[in-house]
């Protein structure tokens, strides 16, 4: 994983500061959890152990890497879970058990994702609806749409050509034996989103509008355009996550349920500022891995799903409290 401290500006002036770059604590937490998992299940250090872990975490990690764009810009995207559902259900309907249709169904799903992102962005930017409400409305709408599209009874089958991305392992790789395609997708998407957020003008402008939209506007930042792009990136990452999930989960109208909050939790664990202005793609991916690691550990211990929900809720709150505490201690004025 690329080590990138949260919000660190890559100015060459960094060298002059004489301050050590702060490493985001999420990486230590993740490392500690991985050690804990290994202790409770020594098989984890085998390729089958950690590769399956990464494969399982990939959809959430991709989702978090997209969600962080909206969070940094000062909003939330609650519609991503329903975009996942729509992707899985919609693909199964369009594919209609025809393996040859995959090549055009996937672009169609990305087009749908693009449209959802644009609508979210337009509603938030021009109709001035708070993103929490706008994307909540979108979530309810899309869940309903997915249900209607599948006539309430989704086909429980996706052809192998579609499931390739989420399910296949590339065999015969030295050292690690095999490489899941899902992990490959995560690496590619992660690198692209890292570059876009931390190396381009878009990334710095996202930070600016999340930090102080009025100052950004007075400085010539095209607020609406930047904000719409953030929602589009989040939606497209949700379509990607949906394609991966379709690969290893079955088709149902609740595949995406809860993913929006898990993605937001992952970003917060990664140290993102909830009201915008600060956040990092690698740290959000690490946050997603951390969350998955916690769930894995709870699974090993044998705790049921409701306990997982309680834990996730507590983590979300604790992460926000810790982030606030850390920022206050770090000073400022």
């Amino acid at each position: 994983m690329i080590q990138e401290t949260v919000g660190s500006a890559k100015a060459p002036g960094a060298a002059r500061g004489g301050r050590l770059p702060k490493i985001n604590p999420v990486f230590f937490v993740l490392a500690a959890l991985l050690v804990a998992i290994t202790l409770s299940n020594p098989n984890f250090v085998e390729p089958t152990g950690y590769m399956n872990f990464l494969k399982r975490a990939a959809p959430l990690a991709i989702l978090a890497a997209g969600q962080i764009y909206v969070i940094v810009s000062g909003g939330f995207d609650l519609s991503v879970g329903s975009v996942i559902t729509l992707t899985v259900v919609g693909s199964s309907v369009l594919l209609n058990n025809n393996a040859d249709a995959t090549w055009w169904v996937i672009p169609v799903m990305y087009a749908v994702g693009l449209a959802v992102g644009v609508v979210n962005g337009l509603v938030v930017s021009y109709l001035r609806v708070p993103s929490l409400i706008a994307t909540l409305g979108m979530m309810i709408t899309l869940n309903g749409a997915a249900f209607m599209w599948s006539s309430g009874s989704p086909r429980g089958y996706l052809p192998e050509t579609f499931r390739f991305f989420g399910r296949t392992n590339i065999q015969g790789i030295p050292l690690i034996q095999f490489l899941p395609v899902a992990l490959l997708v995560l690496i590619v998407v992660g690198l692209c989103l890292f570059w876009l957020m931390h190396r381009t003008n878009l990334g710095r402008l996202l930070h600016a509008i999340g930090d102080n939209p009025r100052a950004a506007q007075m400085s010539g930042v095209p607020l609406e355009r930047v904000r719409i792009i953030a929602f589009v990136i989040s939606s497209l990452s949700a379509v990607t996550a949906g394609i991966l999930l379709g690969g290893f989960a079955g088709v149902s109208t609740d595949v995406g349920v809860g993913y929006e909050l898990q993605a937001i939790t992952a970003c917060v664990i990664g140290g993102a500022q909830l009201l915008g202005g600060r956040g990092s793609v690698p740290a959000s991916i690490a946050g997603a891995l951390t969350l998955t690691a916690i769930f894995t550990l709870l699974n090993f211990i044998g705790l049921p799903k409701p306990v997982r929900d309680v834990v996730q809720g507590v983590i979300l709150i604790v992460a926000v409290v810790l982030a606030t505490y850390r920022r206050n201690r770090a000073g400022g004025t």
Partner: protein
Amino acid sequence: MISPAIEMRGITKSFPGVKALKSVSFSAYPGEVHALAGENGAGKSTLMKILSGVYRLDGGAVVVGGEERHFSHPLEAIRAGIAVIYQEFSLLPERTVAQNIFLGREPTRLGLIDHKAMNAEARRVLALFGSAHRIEPDTVVADLDVASQQLVEIAKAVSLDAKVIVMDEPTAALNEAECEVLFGLVDTLKKRGVAIVYITHRMREITRLADRVTVLKDGETAASFDHVPEPDTIVRAMVGRDIGDFYAAPATPQEIGEVVLSVRHAGNERLKDISFELRAGEIVGFAGLQGAGRVALAQAIFGFAPFTEGEVELAGKPARFTNPRDAIRAGIGLLPGDRKAEGLVLMQSVSDNGLLTARALSGLAGKADATPFASAEEMDKLLHELDVRAGSFSQEIKALSGGNQQKAIVARWLALAPRLLIFIEPTRGIDVNAKAGIYHLMRDLARKGTAIMMVSSDLPEVLGAADRILVMRAGELVAAFPRGVSEADVMLAATGEEAVAA
């Protein structure tokens, strides 16, 4: 011989890593105004916070009415008759004037709040300042203007029977006319035998009000005067150097060039029939009262609150912009008056703040550290040239002083090399040394051919730094003066009393 109302002897206070005050002594007698001057960070506020019980002292003694006291809570200080009026008011905006004045000690009748008695008493206190008609006790505080709110703060202090009133830069948010009201109030309080500690770094206020002056610098008493010395003497004590070159030299006729901006009969709902020209190489100051339309004019030119009528040309091309982005593209820059709300992205680095506009006008997918306008290295160089003091340009801008923040915003615009740069309240909240830096910077820019529009409520600043002065009143341009005009003439034009006098 009267004894002092308060006396602070050899006060020492340290914060982790900083010695904020080193053996500072200070006193205030009943019926006098003792001005406490010094740059930002000199220790003025710390000293007053010790007096009012917000901080505990590390060494020294606070004597109130001849008795040594150790306040551990602001309430104890208030009970001992010490009231502090901070820059940020402590009024409850949704309550009435009377409710605020009697907060926590409302008069009761049969266990219920006696509104009648409360309003009557509030009116009596307000009448002491001749403001019973201006402010009704049952007005909600949020509906009052800043000056009136301050009056309510002072009324509250008086009704508490304060022997000592500390005013922390009370004119920071006031315009000229409101300042006069405040000065009158200070005179009234003085006559009533209140000891007033007046914190400011404006020389005009010291000359107008003070009986004695103490200057703090770096936590120590730099100078103490039992009279009011020449402003130069005070400023020298404050900054530790001579300030003969406080303002930069004016433009010579050769330096003034082509017309950059020409506005003809332009207006919108806040501006009426505005016509003027700005030339390359000149600094034009815009004076006027708060709400006279100076900021509205700047925002109209910048496309933030656009003109709805008239013609505007920038370097000969039509320039009625409807959003800041278009205005910036055409070569207009604006430094907002409220840096925190409109200028800075506080959580981002100094360098990011400098590069913000360069990035905003470059392609979204372009490299953030190499915009066509400036690379990250060039921005660092520019920040260095402007002498922005920061541990590192990659640290958050939040921790920088106002002057350094302002210079970072200047750097943002310099990277774009605008034809016209609009400064709104360029030195608000900036200490004296940094002020001089900003004036010289403006002049250097003008020398390089930029037209500079300076909107400022600090009249001496407008008179000192501008080549020409335009005065606005009620949304109109009412007067134009050359350099060297007197403060009184500008004030008359700004308040509109000219017509009466004539």
